[in-house]
Symmetry: D2
Subunit: 325 residues, 4 copies
Amino acid sequence: METKRPTIPAAEEILGGYFPVLDHGFVSLVDYMGSDEDVERAARVSYGFGTRKVSQTRGLVRYLRRHRHTTPSEMVELKFHCAMPMFVARQWIRHRTASVNELSARYSLMPLLFYTPPQDQFALQSRSNNQGREGGAPPEVYREAVERWERLRKDAGGAYAWLLREDVARELARIDLPVSTYTQWYWKIDLHNLLHFLSLRVDPRAQWEIQQYARVIAGMVKRVAPLSFEAWVDYDLESRPLTRAEREVLSRLVTADADGVRARDGAAVGADGLAAAGLSKREIEELAEKLRAPDHQDFELDLSAMKSAEEIAKKMYEAVPGSFE
Amino acid sequence: METKRPTIPAAEEILGGYFPVLDHGFVSLVDYMGSDEDVERAARVSYGFGTRKVSQTRGLVRYLRRHRHTTPSEMVELKFHCAMPMFVARQWIRHRTASVNELSARYSLMPLLFYTPPQDQFALQSRSNNQGREGGAPPEVYREAVERWERLRKDAGGAYAWLLREDVARELARIDLPVSTYTQWYWKIDLHNLLHFLSLRVDPRAQWEIQQYARVIAGMVKRVAPLSFEAWVDYDLESRPLTRAEREVLSRLVTADADGVRARDGAAVGADGLAAAGLSKREIEELAEKLRAPDHQDFELDLSAMKSAEEIAKKMYEAVPGSFE
Amino acid sequence: METKRPTIPAAEEILGGYFPVLDHGFVSLVDYMGSDEDVERAARVSYGFGTRKVSQTRGLVRYLRRHRHTTPSEMVELKFHCAMPMFVARQWIRHRTASVNELSARYSLMPLLFYTPPQDQFALQSRSNNQGREGGAPPEVYREAVERWERLRKDAGGAYAWLLREDVARELARIDLPVSTYTQWYWKIDLHNLLHFLSLRVDPRAQWEIQQYARVIAGMVKRVAPLSFEAWVDYDLESRPLTRAEREVLSRLVTADADGVRARDGAAVGADGLAAAGLSKREIEELAEKLRAPDHQDFELDLSAMKSAEEIAKKMYEAVPGSFE
Amino acid sequence: METKRPTIPAAEEILGGYFPVLDHGFVSLVDYMGSDEDVERAARVSYGFGTRKVSQTRGLVRYLRRHRHTTPSEMVELKFHCAMPMFVARQWIRHRTASVNELSARYSLMPLLFYTPPQDQFALQSRSNNQGREGGAPPEVYREAVERWERLRKDAGGAYAWLLREDVARELARIDLPVSTYTQWYWKIDLHNLLHFLSLRVDPRAQWEIQQYARVIAGMVKRVAPLSFEAWVDYDLESRPLTRAEREVLSRLVTADADGVRARDGAAVGADGLAAAGLSKREIEELAEKLRAPDHQDFELDLSAMKSAEEIAKKMYEAVPGSFE
């Protein structure tokens, strides 16, 4: 189709393609509005007449992000079709500034697809992070867990199919499906709020399963708005906040001016000094992480994994309890 | 405690009390800000100096609601502690203009409490409403459903407890709990958005289970802001929209002016006439419902059902898999 | 440009064209995402597998709007470039669920364009509506008002230009510009929230000046999503709420069932009866309005008025105080 | 009044008192819901059963803020009555997640109070910051500016009063009031969004006039939720983001582990090295600021400045054009 709207070839290349996530999930970019140039265009209303020209979209986009002028990023919008386990959906939906249309289990028959964690992600409760996982669990525990999951899903799916056969209301038939059951939705969000979502969900402290979705979506954003994406990596994702106390401590170790930064010879602050500056033990560990050189993270999409809508629809369709079409 | 803040005796009477909903759920009003007088106070900034006095808060509150001046209602805020099955929580959370803190199954051990529909609510799929339920299901189907539910929950609860014993991460241990499992949250919302929530969730087309929560909350709102509540019943809950085509049809049947309304003798519009005016078959049924005298709905709280926080906490505590404190 | 995104010829026809509003303002549709079919597509995720096919987008779109299933309408997004007097901007900005980038008077030099009401809109304070206008004001008052406005704007513009020449900070130089000064912004909003904006701002109780903007935007929506637009006219704009008391009264005058609606011979409720049913004097007047046949409102855009971006930019540029480029 | 709600003596002490801001403005805390303990209470739903006790509200509040778990802060709500020049109101209203009821110039007569900048704030356009002010302007320019402002306001106020005497609609009579005219509103916002507002508006890059409002509000927050306030100062207000490139540079100058932080002897990165790491000239200046020891900012309210509602109301009343009550 012909359009006068801003159009981005790298986004068009993946538009409507389905990227697998986890064992039965997916993310597809189904529509977008605008790109980096539209961030600049909106911001330049703010600059308007009588202001010096900023020579490059990149410079402006980076300045805006560094200084938290985030409203121009709201001028870009992306729409996705996604399928994920319900426990992932329940984390995802907490991001309120977005539009969602979810498959309704009151109207519809649910495809009986369930998430099974891969063995290398089957881990013990973290000791250092009360909400996370850490280290591997014994293989025999994994084997038994898989057996139990398979049995539970067979029984829950069987009960669901039986209740539907008895014509029990769908909204009741579904109440014992496990939260590992896949659901799906359309999700539309602006670039500012999407990058905030990514900051929280690409983070290693997010549950590993939702991280996998965030990483694929990050690869899509990189195609729609590459300059905004780069600025987000530099100023958000790989940025770390220096707290008031940490700034006070660092100012004793380092000097900085327009000519550069220099270490103060022999300057050091030990654990006691850090405690005196107000840092808790946990904050000292956090400071060490902040002062390490950042990692390079790659969010390139693997185009060879892209599937068609038809292929995905067929798989979903075949997973619906059979005798009810 | 002494306070200079607006204080409402009828709200204080139930503050911090827990009202049971469904078999293991509850709603408790834990805090509130403002009342009907604060709606007026905020709106009167809009009237300010030089404007005639409106003699009664009631008159103003009713005028505001009738004319959809809803922003003054945002000046009243309510906070609740609630427990509900996860499938109810998933409907509830779609109301985005609210604050929520939910029990996290990544950090916490979940109480093993599951919702079982009562027999008189165990119904067949509705024929007239694709998403609802209708009529009774056979008692033997209910009996078998209950048996299957009990078995599923025993197995799912057992797997959960076993995974916790093996020290598997909580965020993984919980993935096969059914959506009938009770969760809980703090929920804070302003009066305008709460009344909108109630309009949608007290409605017979909402799933019966969430209606039960909405009805208890309605009884609480009636205590916090009785005039706003009355205006909501009159102008929202028991109001019905007359569509463009329906107004055109009714104008042929009825005349109205400052002296009253009168039927036009012999005036009638048959099914064909309604179709010609653009009404679908379904809209004709809807019109008949709109023109019936409205029901009276009672949302009075049953104070004798109110329980203490300690009693509820004990019940929840005892339902957590036992060996992990 | 070529795109795989949903593309709407009627929208492309006006994309980037500028439509004049008031004496110096404008609205331009600069981008859009989706159309009626995307409302259906999002809603059908909700219907998904195992549900009867709804044969027409129109039927579904109308059903959704009639039953206030508004979330699928959020899946369509529109972006506008607008210029309006500041007092209009201050009413407009109250619609919070939208993205805005406004020309900043801290960074930029403001074009010295001011709004002058046309003589036929120069009216007296309304007696029936405390916030509106009503009837014509004497021509000699209009003449003097115009003289005073011209003098004030000359002085305010002169002071602004003088302060800029003295290099006083722009954020201070602008503080005595009148609220009739034109500002401009990019405004992006989803279809659901836009239709809500239109319902409030096309309304005769809105200030006449903002109505003019709403009417032009309505003409643009009609091109982007014609079925949603038609449903909005039928079920929102030309719909009226029948209150609880009004339903009770009407049920005495009219009967309705699947075969049609019929007036009850001789049935009437006089002013006393209406008062007894709880209607205030003002509500009785409102009821008469509701029971009149609705007007037909035309929101067709006048394509011959459309101007190019260059033409508009030139006009704005020339209105900036001259010596500061 | 007696209440079972959480009550905070330091907040009660100022409740309903009016604190002057600028020449004719004010901020008053008129209501609040909750405090630091309610942040903890909401967050502990997230911890719930089976989790270790966190011994102190302070520790939890600080942990939550440091890790951007901001939703529990939404559980505290504050309500203010404020008066400010319209140009300040226009900056303020951009914070969308709040409730506002503003004095309507369509209904009401506006008090004729205008903001005059004090001489020490009458400054030139900043060279380093395109949107700010910098250095002093000559006294004779200030004198002439004040004279021009006084004349403009006399004329604009005179025209407003004359139009009202001629009974012209108020919504038209006000269109040439300058943006320095004071307006007022009720403003209600939760603690999370309020702290975000303060971060942006206490900042030296915000216009000086809105900073004065933010500083008074900060003093009020300090009384309502002192632990959240302290955490905000330490982890937001006086925190600075270290970007990806800055972390990379600093990791060459400093080492850190659980035992403390140490400068690397002789380590330095000059301007060229910083440029090679990707820092622009402006970013190098920003880095120097980040590495300076933070300032101590005091937001204590001056209780001796507090005025009564009656005193303020009288002043506003007397400023309304006289002959129209």
